[in-house]
Symmetry: C2
Subunit: 467 residues, 2 copies
Amino acid sequence: MTVFFKINSSLIFILLISASTLRAQKVDFSNDTTTVEAIYQYTLTNGKCYDWLDYLCNKIGARLSGTPAYLAAAEYTRQVLDTIGLDSAWLQPVTVPHWERGEKEIARVVNSSRGSYDLRVLALGSSVATGEKGIQAEIIEILSNEQLQQLGQKGVKGKIVFFNRPMERGIVRTMSAYGRAVDQRYSMPTEAAKLGSIGAIVRSMTTKIDTFPHTGGTQYLPAGPNIPAFAVCTKDAENLSDLLKSGPVSVYMRSTSKMLSDKPSYNVIGEIKGSEFPDEIIIIGGHLDSWDIGQGAHDDGTGCVQSMQVLHTLQSMGYKPKRTIRCVLFSNEENGLRGGTEYAAQAKSKGEIHIAALESDSGGFTPRGFNFEGHPDIFVEKFKKTAAFVDILAPYGLSFNPGGSGADISPLKEQKTLLIGFQPDLHRYFDYHHTEADVFSAVNQRELEMGAASMTALIFLIDKYGL
Amino acid sequence: MTVFFKINSSLIFILLISASTLRAQKVDFSNDTTTVEAIYQYTLTNGKCYDWLDYLCNKIGARLSGTPAYLAAAEYTRQVLDTIGLDSAWLQPVTVPHWERGEKEIARVVNSSRGSYDLRVLALGSSVATGEKGIQAEIIEILSNEQLQQLGQKGVKGKIVFFNRPMERGIVRTMSAYGRAVDQRYSMPTEAAKLGSIGAIVRSMTTKIDTFPHTGGTQYLPAGPNIPAFAVCTKDAENLSDLLKSGPVSVYMRSTSKMLSDKPSYNVIGEIKGSEFPDEIIIIGGHLDSWDIGQGAHDDGTGCVQSMQVLHTLQSMGYKPKRTIRCVLFSNEENGLRGGTEYAAQAKSKGEIHIAALESDSGGFTPRGFNFEGHPDIFVEKFKKTAAFVDILAPYGLSFNPGGSGADISPLKEQKTLLIGFQPDLHRYFDYHHTEADVFSAVNQRELEMGAASMTALIFLIDKYGL
């Protein structure tokens, strides 16, 4: 009886395996609906992107431009791209800036009615240092650039400015709320510097009240003036604002961050050559660099491994693309955009024709659709052509909209490439963005794979029908 | 200067506060688009549902029907409903079954080629006990009911059955994958019992390979036969399956679970009386009971607090509904459906007219839309009428589809109520479903509030236009 069962069970097992293998191998690529279904099934069942992300986050970790860790990440992803059956994989040299945080920064409330205590801060990327001894001054809360200008030199000179306009919780689209608050981090420190301020503390970019700072780039003016600028966690920002209601407060700031000399770096590229139109290039990509805290999981490890997965899925399913499909992992998105700039410059100098570029740089959450933008000469026609695919992809919860695509691919706009931004669900993104919490465990495997499958499906359709 | 700044800053602060308060108070309810926008803004800014869920999960925790914890949850939610300005809040008595897990269950592989070791298991809800001494027998792996029937009494009698067909990762809709696997948990143990099996171990219902079991209800036949049935974590299921390839394996099972006498319980109800058509009732709800492990966060604490939030939001925004809107927190969804059954019976005996019922019982994730079903006499007409709202709600990522609604409201079908199921994104649901991992920290505040706002928006439109 047992023997009978065992044979029976093994047989069923073999049949199940064969069926699924056959199914993956024998996709009828002439039928778009079944091909797209097979792409999702393959990715959810055999996807490797989650394992790759595990390595990138847990074995390499944070990988700021110019660091040894970035080079480890470049070599790791190149090795992966080299072994998944592509036609070629290579490193494209690019020189990048190299900023270093230095010693743990300090921001301390001193002699306030609540005594002295440390704020939870992180120097913003590209921030200048305070000098060994630090700086100390009265801190003043400012909610808008209008208010800053109104205060003018008289109100700001010699003071530390505290930009505390919250990223609004009530706005449904978190990216819009971010867009409405991020000037405080990017340009307002230098605006305050022009008025004589000596330091800036910026409320973190998140709708949550949390206890860890969210860093990010701040503008660095080569001709100056630049001042030390820190992000403070929203919990401490709320408390500081409250403290300021009862009288003047002084803050001590110290940071030893510095801009080092430029370093050699690389964009990482893998390619499947087109069988019919090899000169028409389609790229998918993300940026391989991250900030120097956390593990760069959602920003943008997920975009990198999803892009690699697109090629791996098409390759494994036996699809022979008509056009050349390239995965590009860009260097230095976070503090310079040198990777994206260099990639576009090389493409231009070689006379390459990029018909479409898809970037995933909004986290590895459940896919909601794609944003499209492009040079006015081509946008309407090409968006219309692509939008015709929405009927096939809508059942997967995807919608197509005009909108921002991705920073790294934006330099291709003048080459009349259709620029596409992968749009995942963004309600959790700013819980992790640019923080110590952006780690592997914050990524859900199914959500990540659903994103990779959605990207693959769109790339398959663009390759098949052209633009 | 500082004084000038401080006055200025305070003024701005006051102006900001006033603007947001005014905005919440002065919604023009005649304009659906701006009302819906205001509903989202209010909920994301002033929602209380996350705090209520915190209390329900962290202060009360798991709340299986018939337990003191369930009564604590009923009293807590009644008190909340009693204090948010509704017209009335009350408890509706209902008698519920009372099953108890007893001592920690044991399932142990004995004398195998890998020695003896414990499997990570949980008795299924309503499972009978093994008796004090436990049971021991050869275990056989079965992948389908067809295979079970083929083995028949000869192959199954005296054995422990191991149902190990995976919930398929490759299916995009996790609820479909669940539906295709859950017969193994619900009905197959009793099917095996009919053939003389003495115990059942069922692979947990999740697409992940994880290390904790996912419990859930199993069929209990009053006339028998019933056998002890456990869920085993998928990691151990994979290993056990592998072990069985090298020869027969015996398993020891012990559980002291028991079905106790029925206990008094309550549905919790809060209501705003309709101003124009008080006799037309619209309900929103979830189930307040949970399994006895974890904290019943996504299943279904989120559905309860979202339903409470709908009334709180409408009330706080100053909306006077035309129809009577009721929040109903049902007792005993997990192991009996007595709450939903009693609610419908009472509605019928009182001659109440329920025009629509909306249930949230799929977790507190980002909203994706609503499912609709109903009695054939009314369905097409009423779905059509409701579907007209999709233009207003589509910008929030919501779609309207025919489909299953919710277990608790299903008994209202014969009363020709339009039944609506809230549909969140379900990719993470089965990571938590019926496990120790279904706790407060697994719920994201924004996602929860987005769901509550979506439910509120739909209820507002149904109330305003009728059905």
